[in-house]
Symmetry: C2
Subunit: 191 residues, 2 copies
DNA sequence: TGTACAGGAATGAATATTCATTCTTATAAT
DNA sequence: ATTATAAGAATGAATATTCATTCCTGTACA
């Protein structure tokens, strides 16, 4: 197995175990076994478990940001851009359920809290796109006059909930339903 | 200290520690110390940590259900009832941040997943009230024709997000803002 | 009334387990 | 042959749980 492949296997195994069982259901020994490497080997690629967890997070964030930005044009009207992003997020979560579960685990853990505090007002990632979008929406008077955080919650909250329900099998999201959901979110946000 | 008081102290200590530091930041020894009892004493009241965690969850769920139902009248129009519940939930989360944090921890852990699977379609608690409400809303054609789970997500998702942001200090929810948020949620759900 | 005693409750030190990390040994590459 | 890499057994810290002992509290008896 090549060096990069090995690192990749470790990351993949960690992602899967943590996404499915949480940080506690993913001991290093188990990650090693799933990755098909020795326990000690992991430490040749990652200084310790924390580093592994955080690097994995950054990888994911970066990957998602790229996907969201695919085909995004800042010239289009606010409503259209809103729908673009929302749709992209939902599609991504459905296509990559493990990624989504991992992010959830991360955000609801001490790691995630530290992460938030790090950038109270210097956000990046999804939040960033939305913020920029809402700023313009406010200026043009097309969205409700509410604090940014609230607009974000109105747009993003339902997506998280619905993505989780899809992954747990409580609902099946097809393209039609995704469209209706995003439109409904827009109804909540628009003026 | 009376017997019930003691049980109560244990529960309170567990709630606080878990809400603030997660399940892992709350070893039994620490819970015992905070509760002012011996480590072994906890096991006189709860068979093991899992049982403690689950009983605590049920307690909370019950308590919240009661609060939500205060002043709820099934005769009022759907919109009014929707606003009643939403407002009550937000007020509760703000007044009892520890409870809210605990519930979040629980839901985002193996406990929560087991819990969900237990009652795939026999939900209780908040979800129950909303379901009944939406059923009527659908019959009367006042809410969008979407699956129950999706309607629930549209109504509930933003509340969770916004409650978390309030607790973390990213926004201050006063009565006026709460009103605006619930109305916005209704905009997303209504036909 | 005061004293001995029993039964239950509480305690916390001792134990068993789980896990991240390290270290020694084996293997492969140059 | 030397060096880098991998493996997985060994280590030690952290933790849930157990259990022998102590401490209460209420009751019976003198």
């Amino acid at each position: 197995m090549a060096k990069l492949e090995k690192r990749d296997e470790i990351v993949r195994a960690a992602l899967e175990l943590i996404a499915e069982n949480g940080f506690h259901g993913a001991p290093m020994a188990m990650i090693a076994e799933k990755a098909g490497v020795g326990a000690g080997t992991i430490y040749r690629y990652f200084e310790n478990k924390d580093v592994l967890i955080n690097e994995l997070y950054r990888d994911l964030e970066q990957r998602i940001y790229t996907v969201l930005m695919e085909g995004y044009s800042p010239e289009k009207p606010v409503r259209e851009r809103f729908i673009h992003i929302g749709t992209a997020i939902l599609r991504y979560c459905i296509a990559n359920p493990l990624d989504f579960r991992y992010l959830e685990q991360f955000h609801n853990s001490p790691y995630g809290v530290v992460h938030r505090r790090d950038r109270i007002l210097g956000e990046t990632g999804e939040k960033d796109i939305y913020l920029e979008l809402f700023k313009e929406g406010l200026a043009r008077h097309v969205v409700k006059e509410l604090p940014m955080v609230v607009l974000f919650a109105l747009a993003f909250g339902p997506l998280i909930t619905v993505a989780r329900d899809h992954i747990l099998g409580f609902v099946v999201l097809d393209e039609a339903l995704i469209g209706e959901i995003i439109t409904a979110c827009w109804d909540g946000v628009k003026r």
